[in-house]
């Protein structure tokens, strides 16, 4: 009853190459630029709202980088822009959600291996379990299973669905990686008033699920933890819980005012070192990158951000007819007649 479940040995524990390390930096830089710009876009009226992931770049890029897009599938919340970018999701399609163009985003989830953006806290954690159990049912041999990677926050961990998901996954030995970004806050509620026991990872043992708590601001550590978890799940040994300890350096969303519940001093102390800056120093210290590379990475990130902004600005509203056409695969007479009435009455407008 007290033996802690442990992760299986990792098949492929090769260290990241220098190219890969530099790529991780470039991804983090791209995410940082897009993220901070998106906040500016909101202030400029380009988009109505945005949920920044400032400070979570290492957790998001490091985990997203471990995904095998040929067979895995990712279930994000509303804050996984960095994961999307690391996986190569079309970022205009991704950001279109925040322009209020389409709930869930305009990118293609099946091709991207990245499920539609999920606004219900803990809403998609169970989907990951179902998808993962589907991999088992499909009869792929152990070692070749597709793995579901589901993201959620410290706040989300309070939802009943997360418990049901962990229990289902463990009972069914489903190949799922539960990836918690413990960023210290759920809007205004700090982790200590949210997560009894202090850690989501600790809960995993109760289900017999191996868990790791990882420094979420260390992109390499996050990558390695995620890669190990994937190897475990892929080999048919069941789910893994990863809790990446990080910090939400920005507001909950552009509508939030963190000054009401934490001071700038708190933020400085609790946030720790900026994960991007930290990785930069490390790459320079290890001789993996030089200042020129860093400068080029930021220049590329700026260019990328500008292209995405242009895409977003150019994005018109979707035709209203999609409201009706996309409800079902097979529409109904009742819905068709509502669509007809809508067409008729909006022509007069």
């Amino acid at each position: 009853m007290d033996t802690k479940p442990t992760l299986a040995a990792v098949d492929d524990a090769a260290p990241l190459t220098q190219d890969e390390l530099r790529e991780l930096y470039s991804l983090m830089a791209a995410v940082r630029h897009l993220d901070t710009s998106a906040v500016a876009w909101q202030r400029q009226g380009i988009i109505p709202g945005y949920a920044p992931e400032l400070g979570q770049e290492a957790a998001q890029v490091g985990s997203g980088y471990a995904v095998d897009k040929a067979r895995d599938f990712v279930f994000p919340t509303y804050r996984e822009m960095g994961v999307a970018r690391a996986m190569g999701v079309d970022m205009v399609g991704y950001m279109s959600t925040h322009k209020a163009t389409w709930h869930g985003g305009l990118y293609k989830p099946l091709e991207s291996r990245f499920a539609p953006i999920q606004a219900v806290v803990a809403g998609s954690v169970l989907h990951a379990v179902g998808w993962a159990h589907g991999q088992t049912l499909a009869g792929l041999p152990a070692g070749h299973l597709g793995v579901a990677l589901t993201y959620f926050g410290d706040g989300a961990s309070s939802q009943g669905d997360v418990h049901e998901a962990m229990n289902f996954a463990a009972v069914m030995k489903a190949p799922v990686v539960f990836f918690i970004q413990n960023n210290g806050w759920a809007i205004s509620v700090p982790t200590e008033r949210q997560v009894a026991g202090g850690s989501v990872a600790t809960r995993a043992a109760g289900y017999g699920i191996p868990a790791v708590q990882v420094d979420g601001n260390d992109v390499v550590a996050v990558f390695e933890a995620t890669r190990n978890a994937f190897a475990h799940a892929r080999s048919g040994k069941g789910p893994v819980v990863i809790e990446a300890m990080t910090y939400r350096r920005g507001p909950h969303s552009t509508a939030d005012d963190p000054g009401r519940y934490r001071t700038l001093d708190d933020e400085r102390i609790d946030a720790g070192e900026d994960p991007l800056e930290r990785f930069r120093k490390r790459l320079l210290a290890d001789g993996v990158a030089d200042e020129a590379f860093i400068a080029a990475a930021h220049e590329a990130a700026t260019a990328e951000e500008e292209a995405i902004r242009a895409g977003i600005e150019a994005l018109g509203p979707r035709p209203g007819s999609e409201m009706f056409d996309l409800v079902f695969q097979e529409t109904t007479p009742a819905l068709e007649s509502q669509a007809a009435a809508w067409r008729e009455e909006s022509e007069h407008v």
Partner: protein, 358 residues
């Protein structure tokens, strides 16, 4: 859109296709068996669905026959069952989950409303949700609390869901087969008080192709609409689920008094077959809607309004509703006081027949 099959169903079809007397439980079990055999992407699961075969035995024998991968027990958590269904559908499966009783669908409402009903829309049609959720529904079996609920008004209000309820074994077999072959989520409400009643089920001579089903090849014809189960001239009773049988009893009694009652089994509670309602009431000029659910904001209001909208000029009386009351479904001893009984339905008929403009 609607199909006219009167009480003589057996004789109508007997010439063309095999007919068997089955209970609704047997018809549903057989439909699931055939669905599992025909479509390797289907999976059947829920609480006690596997080894036990379900508390109502609807999945009896299916695990033994189709294997533990295709038919399985889940832990006891309805949100888990439905949330898992979403993920299975995203992975290309056709889940046929069961919620053990109507009242235990509530813990899963979040997953049903926010996820199952919306994933196709949210994903712009790229992640369809071909999920058929079976819910043993409605009352009448003197069961414990929360085992006699009618959730059709809730489900019918949710964009992205389709909702159907069979009233006899034939429809149970065909509507379940049909629902499970479609690419959209269907809430399949089984009238549990009718599980053990036998009736004729007409089978297709050959297995119909799923693609042609919507187009209307017999015996799938008319599956998407309401069904006139008894023709009549004086008043239309509209009902679904277990209330259809009760309305047929009422019609027999009314006939003794010379009142010729038409009974329309709505079958699809979303989308509602408005043309069938208008056709029937356009003829009878009077209508009574009967359902077990509480009156206020029940589906009877929608049905009544569709009738009024379509038959305003010809209606002789405002549509009557004979329904459960706005009270929690009571314990067995009071069940008969709560449910629309023959007398209350007859009073409803009387009110529309005797109505005189003031």
């Amino acid at each position: 859109m609607s199909e006219t099959i009167t009480a003589t169903r057996e004789t109508t079809a007997a010439g063309e296709a095999p007919v068997q007397q089955l209970s609704m439980q047997q018809a549903l079990n057989r439909a699931l068996d055939e669905i599992l055999a025909a479509n390797p992407r289907t999976v059947v699961f829920g609480e006690d669905c596997g080894r036990l075969g379900g508390v109502f035995r609807i999945t009896d024998g299916l695990q033994a026959k189709h294997g533990e991968g295709r038919v399985f027990d889940t832990p006891l958590a309805e949100s888990g069952i439905l949330g898992m269904s979403v993920g299975l559908a995203m992975a290309g499966f056709h889940p046929i989950p069961e919620v053990q009783f109507d009242g235990f669908a509530y813990p899963a409402i979040n997953q049903i409303v926010c996820q199952i009903a919306r994933m196709n829309y949210r994903s712009r049609g790229t992640l369809p949700m071909p999920i058929t959720l079976r819910v043993p529904s409605f009352g009448g079996i003197r069961a414990p609390e929360h085992h006699g609920e009618s959730l059709e008004a809730l489900f019918a209000h949710v964009p992205g869901l389709k909702v159907v309820s069979p009233s006899d074994p034939h429809d149970a077999y065909h509507l379940l087969t049909y629902a499970a072959s479609r690419p959209d989520p269907v809430i399949f409400m089984e009238p549990k008080s009718r599980y053990w009643q036998k009736g004729p089920v007409t089978f297709a001579s050959e297995t119909p192709d799923a693609g042609t089903a919507y187009a209307g090849a017999a015996p799938w014809a008319g599956l998407t609409g309401a069904r006139v189960v008894r023709e009549g001239r004086h008043v239309t009773l509209v009902a679904w689920g277990a209330m259809v049988a009760r309305c047929l009893q009422v019609a027999e009694l009314a006939a003794e008094d010379g009142i010729d009652v038409e009974v329309l089994d709505l079958r699809w509670l979303k989308p509602i077959d408005a043309p069938a309602l208008v056709a029937s009431v356009g003829k009878t000029r009077r209508a009574v809607v009967v359902h077990e659910a509480p009156l206020t904001s029940g589906l009877g209001a929608e049905v009544a309004q569709l009738i009024t909208q379509g038959c305003f000029d010809t209606l002789k009386a405002p549509v009557e509703r004979v329904t459960g009351f706005d009270v929690p479904y009571p314990s067995g001893d009071l069940e008969d006081e709560y449910l629309p009984n023959i007398d209350r339905i007859l009073f409803g008929i009387q009110r529309v027949l005797e109505y005189r403009r003031g």
